[in-house]
């Protein structure tokens, strides 16, 4: 048996075996928590003393520069100086190096934590707060030991990355080619970190409890991102088992990718459009390689987050035009800026909203900050002459919002007309259906747009009242909750009644258990992560419509999620036993079993 098995939420399928490597996000740098050979103890101790001396000298210089009128502040430097040469801190760190044979950084961290522990027991809040000073000094020494932190500091050789949390921005900064897989302590099933991992096709597990306490740098780990398990110091048997399973999974992947360019057509001839959700133009290669039939959702937020400055119209235009050109004649649906719940722009952060998920996000943000919105719409319209481009508004909660957004779009069109700039005047305009209110008035909304895209991730979140990234309630994220099934059906029916298309672009659409149900509703298309396309296309190609309709009828008669899940699982599993052994389904989370 492994020394320890941790559980988390698998967000990007796959298996990897390798050495753990921590990036310490909370401190913005990596503390090498490693043991050292005994003959290096003296050298390591000297490193520590040199670092302390460097910091001490820095404090001395600073104190010499304190002007007379700021004498009061000189006292703070004095106390830092005292702490810096305090035997409790320095000598205990030196002792740690010697007794434990560990790096100076780790030794120092341990000493600071020990002092912190002692201080936290003190009743006097004033003295307890002195710990701040200890941390300041400790940080400075750590800085001197590590040197200037580099944003990308991965060692050679591919590693299993461990982190407290990885924001999409962090993930972009990292040299991902050096990472085999990753695991984080934070995060939930549909957090953006997971979406990113899937786009990059690296196995990932998030929301792992005890991650930081249980795993040290260099530990051998097995990441089972099919089931959400991490084996620390695995046994020979486990290594052998997972070695095999890794090959089986990769073989299966190869097999389905080979067939991915065949159309997504059922046995009885029902054709479904299978598009991709992407957020970077670089992902287009993946879309094509995996048999995507266009981009059903292009998230436009990245341009706004990846750089320190807001992009300008030309930059956006280039981005969108490239997409349109490369995909033509296939379509690309550009979703207007949807900043919100887990991604905030400075403007939003400044509002300091108590609950951003229910705050100024999506289309609301765009309608408030119309200069950003107009710039984006201009870029989209201009790009529309280069291919098959559609515009989609997120987070529409009512008819008025839709009309306001369309009003801005029309005014931007007139602006372009006046300037004599070319665009497609008939550019299709659609909306995301992701709020329960939009579901209820889908019949009205359908009269004023060209298509619907049902964003099930948010729809589930808002309908069931759960934060999908909160691991304490993420178990309630139930895609086949009767309320969700009925909502989706209602929206698709409303769309068809008005003669417009409805597709689904949430995680549900890449779940082999859920897709047949969506098909039973006669969904016109799905848009999913590129690497999910081959597997889903294969499921579609093996099933027939009659079966899907029957299954949907069955699902609609059951009142509880567990009955529905059991029913669906049984039926679908019987049809695709092989495929499903590799899928971590959204509806299978409650029966994760160990091998």
């Amino acid at each position: 048996m492994a020394r320890k098995i941790l559980r988390g939420i698998p967000v990007s399928a796959g298996i990897s075996i390798g050495k753990a490597y921590f990036v310490n996000r909370q401190k913005e740098r990596r503390i090498p928590r490693e043991t050292i050979p005994h003959h290096l103890v003296a050298i390591e101790t000297q490193r520590l003393r040199n670092a302390v001396e460097e910091v001490r000298q820095g404090f001395m210089d600073a104190r010499a520069r304190v002007p007379e009128e700021l004498k009061e502040h000189g006292a703070i430097i004095d106390s830092h100086l005292m702490i810096c040469q305090d035997p409790k801190l320095v000598e205990s760190a030196a002792k740690n190096i010697e007794e434990r044979a560990i790096t100076a950084e780790w030794a120092l961290e341990r000493s600071i934590n020990a002092i912190g522990k002692a201080f936290s027991a003190i009743d006097d809040p004033y003295i307890r707060e002195r710990m701040q000073d200890v941390r300041v000094v400790g940080d400075k020494i750590m800085q001197a030991l590590i040197g200037t932190p580099k944003p990308v500091d991965l060692p050679a050789g591919r590693r299993v990355l461990m982190a407290h949390d990885l924001t999409p921005a962090d993930a972009i900064e990292l040299e991902l080619s050096k990472i085999m897989s990753f695991a984080t302590a934070e995060g939930g099933k549909t957090s953006h970190t997971g979406i990113l991992a899937r786009s990059l096709q690296i196995p990932a597990i998030v929301g792992v409890e005890d991650l930081e306490d249980s795993i040290r740098d260099g530990d051998l780990v097995i990441i089972d991102a099919l089931k959400g398990l991490i084996f620390i110091d695995p046994s020979e048997d486990e290594l052998a088992h997972y070695g095999d399973r890794k090959y089986q999974f990769e073989d299966y992947q190869k097999a389905i990718v080979k067939q991915c360019h065949l159309p997504a057509e059922t046995v009885d001839g029902y054709r479904l459009e299978v598009c991709a959700n992407i957020e970077l133009a670089e992902e287009l290669v993946q879309v094509k390689d995996n048999g995507g039939e266009g981009v059903g959702l292009y998230r436009t937020e990245y341009a706004f987050f990846n750089k320190s400055n807001m992009p300008d119209e030309e930059k956006l235009y280039e981005e969108y035009a490239t997409l349109a050109e490369q995909l033509a004649p296939q379509k690309v649906i550009l979703r207007t800026l949807d900043v919100g719940a887990d991604k905030l722009l400075d403007e939003q952060a400044m509002l300091d909203e108590a609950n951003p998920a229910l705050g100024l996000r999506g289309i609301r943000f765009c309608l408030r900050y119309q200069n950003v919105f107009r710039m984006q719409l201009r870029a989209m319209l201009r790009a529309s002459v280069h291919g098959n481009v559609a515009i989609m508004f997120p987070m529409i909660s009512g008819l008025k919002e839709l009309r306001q957004a369309r009003f801005v779009l029309n005014s931007v069109k007139s602006e372009l007309d006046a300037e004599g700039v070319a665009y497609n005047p008939d550019i299709p305009v659609g909306i995301m259906i992701e709020l329960p209110s939009a579901v209820m008035i889908a019949d009205t909304l359908a009269r004023e747009v060209d298509f619907f895209s049902i964003g099930t991730n948010d729809l589930i979140q808002y309908s069931l009242g759960i934060d999908r990234t909160n691991k304490h309630v993420s178990y309630l994220y139930q895609p086949l909750h009767p309320a969700i099934v009925r909502s989706i059906k209602f929206v698709i029916d409303a769309a068809h009644k008005e003669g417009i298309e409805a597709s689904v672009c949430g995680e549900v659409a890449s779940d082999p258990y859920c897709v047949p149900i969506l098909m039973g509703m006669r969904v016109d298309g799905i848009s999913i992560a590129p690497q999910a396309i081959p597997g889903i296309k294969r499921v579609i190609r093996q099933i027939d419509m009659e079966e899907c309709i029957e299954l949907l009828g069955d699902v609609l008669t059951h009142a509880t999620v567990s009955r529905i899940n059991t029913k669906v699982r049984k039926r679908i599993f019987k049809r695709f036993p092989e495929e499903l052994s590799f899928f971590a389904s959204l509806i299978e989370q409650d029966d994760i079993t160990e091998p």
């Binding site: 006292a75 004095d78 106390s79 005292m82 702490i83 040469q85 305090d86 035997p87 409790k88 801190l89 002092i115 002692a118 201080f119 003190i122 009743d123 006097d124 004033y126 003295i127 002195r130 000073d133 200890v134």
Partner: protein, 97 residues
């Protein structure tokens, strides 16, 4: 090494007289002064024992006004150390409240 141990250990009992107790600044002064001696010096409160040369150790005593502290010193300059540190306590750390 200077001989140390109970035999040549000296001690004196002082009281924390300043209002705020043994806070950062007083603790810093004690530690700074203690560091100027070669002797091993400890501040003892009940069963707690703090290295007088460590501001962090002294702070962790969290001694409020009125605490009785036994200063123990051993080493060549132990008696001088006790005298000067004791004086620092009596002077309420040179005006620190």
């Amino acid at each position: 090494m200077e001989p140390s141990g109970e035999n040549n250990s000296l001690e004196v009992v002082v009281c924390v007289e300043n209002e705020l107790g043994l806070h950062a600044r007083p603790a810093g002064k004690v530690a700074q002064l203690a560091q100027s001696f070669q002797a091993d010096i400890a501040l003892c409160v009940a069963d707690q024992r703090a290295d007088a040369k460590s501001i962090l150790d002294i702070l962790s005593l969290a001694a409020p006004q009125g605490t009785e502290i036994c200063i123990k010193a051993s080493g060549c300059d132990a008696s001088e150390a006790l005298e000067q540190i004791g004086q620092l306590f009596h002077d309420k750390f040179e005006g620190d409240t």
